[in-house]
Amino acid sequence: MSTRRNFLRGMVAASGAAVAAGAAKPAAARETRQRPPEALGLLFDATLCVGCKACVAACKQANDNPAEFSTVDRLWDTPLDTSAHTFNLIKMYRSGTMQTKDAEENGYAFMKTSCMHCADPSCVSACPVSAMTKNPENGVVEYDADACIGCRYCVVACPFGIPKYEYDSPTGKIGKCELCRHRYKDGRYSACAEVCPTGATLFGRSADLLAEAKRRLALKPGETAVFPRGRLRAADEGGVRHAVWREEPDQSYENVVGSYQQHVYGETEYGGTQVLKLSGVPFEKVGMPKLPPEAAAAHSESIQHMLYGGLVMPLAVLGAMTFIARRHVRHDDENEGENRDGR
């Protein structure tokens, strides 16, 4: 009896000390994370996209995904949105007469929909079982079905609506773009960039892609300029990091410079994304939401760490509650005999 009381007194004291320690060092808010230095990603330039959807077909093939039909004849792969079996899709923007490509009024444009590989992904923060993780080196947001419990919190959390679930299966998995990470061991990069005929989808290091995007924004619309295709070679190409990629001929070509919105989508959104986008039409009109520079994951984890960091607060409250309850419940013990009589 006395041992337990001492234990509890000790616990209360310990909790008090822990609170004091916690108060001395204010719980730091969890800052929004930045892209890792060797982050891999894509640059999608809507002004170069011709809407051929070769990337959609290549993605299906590379990821072993079945066709999805939305037409009566069921002849062609015609998904209406990304799904657990469609990780990449080209969507179309239409306005009025659809006269001019990449014009906001009376124009049309194409936009790629696939995982943005956020620097600070909501899906990774949300996942309770580490099935959704961010590769610490290349920053690819990876999914492990063997760990997944199918709670779909990642689906709810993603502001881009990217992770998708198989509702038609009793053993449904999440499906999303993993930047073709399964092909890297063979020296091959993302299939969508590999097949893109105009270089609208370009694969490379996010840092290099961001520099390339800024180069394009500085060009004069209507002029001709050189555009790389496939994989963007880094300025310091030849280093060990880049030796992993298969050698391929330089596919650069000349094309007309589009008239860009002066914004690289993904440079700062939610702390930055590894997939970057350029567009002639305002981003919100082509399905890219306006996002603050702080990631929701940082807000969420700041609250979690403030309340539960080192379990300081819960233990302190538990200590206090135990102390109080101990005093008040004792009355009940004394009343026990009386309670017996009542039966």
Binding site: L80, P159, Y165, T171, K173, P289, S300, P314, R326
Partner: protein, 392 residues
């Protein structure tokens, strides 16, 4: 204080027949639920639900778990009052409230399994190596699981008394104070975290609900809902079992509830004003309408049971309890579904309204709760003994 308790009647079984209209209806509803669930586990979630990638969480999460567990806060709210604030006069309310909580939480825990797409992996959430402590859902899952165990232990004296296991009961009584302390801390943790769940959804949740204070708002409403549920249950149990209504307890309890509710309203509107989100409530949108329905439900009890004489009227107590419960329902539906917009409105193709089979499972879950409550109160010592028992 102890003198107060001497006046109480010890809990006793209500007795009576277990086969009646109410239990039969519950039985049928439960059978239907089992049939729907069989289809769900064989063919997948899509076979019975209207869930989609725009609304991957439906009523099985928001109603069965988030709202179900809030409805199950009666035990927590009353235990706080009795054992922490030492209001011994409410002691007779503890066991019935705890019983309802026990069912609410246990079913919420079981209900999660129905909704998990890869349920056979559920143990990962408790396993180091898999578990992600940064995830709000991890906290919710661990905490709710722990609380379910604690509540069964807290409630077990009712079983031990019935089965005459006096030794075990006495041993349990010695550590009961610690279980009670755990039973107040754990709900504080996960009821607030159920609100924090929406923070990572970021701009997809309407700013009327997306706030850093959402954990506090969920916690305060959970406590208030706890009292509301006790009012509701006491009125329903009294009328169904034709027992005396405990007005002398419910009157002051309703007053405590109004005080807590007042605190919530101040925090709620203070937060909206400070963040400048209040103008959103005056736009012609579904979210704005939903906000006012929620708010009116939370304000209604001030009008219904504002005066001491009104609080002695059982019908008004019942209405106040229902209003609070509805306020809690709307707040949670709004934060998770009505105020939620996948992809921030750039992808307007998604809709969700629960399917009939989906509703039947939720209804079936409540039927389990009601059936369990009836069986246990009739056979185990939960409700205070009445002078002349009239239950049939």
């Amino acid at each position: 204080m102890a003198a107060d308790r001497h006046a109480h009647h010890a809990p006793a079984p209500v007795g009576g027949n277990l086969f009646n209209a109410a239990t039969l209806v519950c039985g049928v509803l439960i059978a239907i639920m089992i049939a729907v669930l069989a289809v769900r586990f064989v063919f997948g979630l899509g076979a019975v639900t209207n869930l989609n990638d725009g609304y991957p969480w439906g009523i099985w999460v928001v109603v069965d778990v988030v709202i179900g567990s809030a409805f199950a806060c009666g035990g927590f709210s009353v235990a706080m009052l009795v054992y922490i604030f030492n209001k011994g006069q409410y002691h007779p309310l503890v066991r019935p409230a705890l019983l309802a909580s026990l069912f609410g939480y246990t079913l919420a825990g079981v209900g999660v399994i129905f909704d998990l797409g890869r349920w056979w992996n559920f143990w990962h959430i408790f396993t180091p190596g898999y578990a992600n402590p940064n995830s709000v859902m991890f906290e919710v899952a661990v905490c709710i699981s722990a609380y379910i165990v604690v509540m069964w232990l807290e409630f077990s004296p009712a079983f031990l008394e019935k089965w005459g296991m006096e030794d075990a009961r006495r041993k349990l009584n010695k550590v009961l104070f610690f279980l009670i302390a755990l039973g107040t801390v754990l709900p504080m943790m996960h009821q607030s975290s159920l609100g924090t769940l929406i923070v990572v959804m970021g701009v997809q949740v309407n700013p009327l609900w997306q706030t850093q204070l959402i954990p506090l708002l969920f916690l305060l409403t959970a406590v208030v809902i706890g009292y509301g549920v006790v009012l509701f249950e006491s009125c329903v149990a009294s009328s169904a079992y034709r027992r005396k209504i405990e007005t002398h307890l419910l009157e002051p309890l309703a007053k405590v509830m109004l005080t807590m509710l007042g605190a919530f309203v101040v925090v709620r509107f203070g937060d909206l004003l400070v963040r400048g989100a209040l103008p959103l409530a005056f736009q012609g949108s579904v979210a704005a309408l939903a906000f006012w329905v929620e708010t009116l439900c939370f304000l209604a009890p001030f009008a219904v049971v504002g005066s001491a004489s009104a609080r002695r009227n059982p019908a008004r107590l019942f209405l106040a309890g229902v209003a609070i419960m509805l306020g809690g329902v709307f707040m949670r539906l709004n934060a998770f579904l009505i105020g939620y917009d996948t992809g921030v409105g750039v992808d307007p193709g998604w809709h969700y309204f629960p399917s009939v089979p989906e509703l039947l499972v939720t209804i079936g879950m409540f039927a389990v709760e009601v059936l369990g409550y009836i069986v246990i109160t009739r056979r185990f010592p939960v409700l205070p003994r009445e002078e002349a028992q009239v239950a049939q």
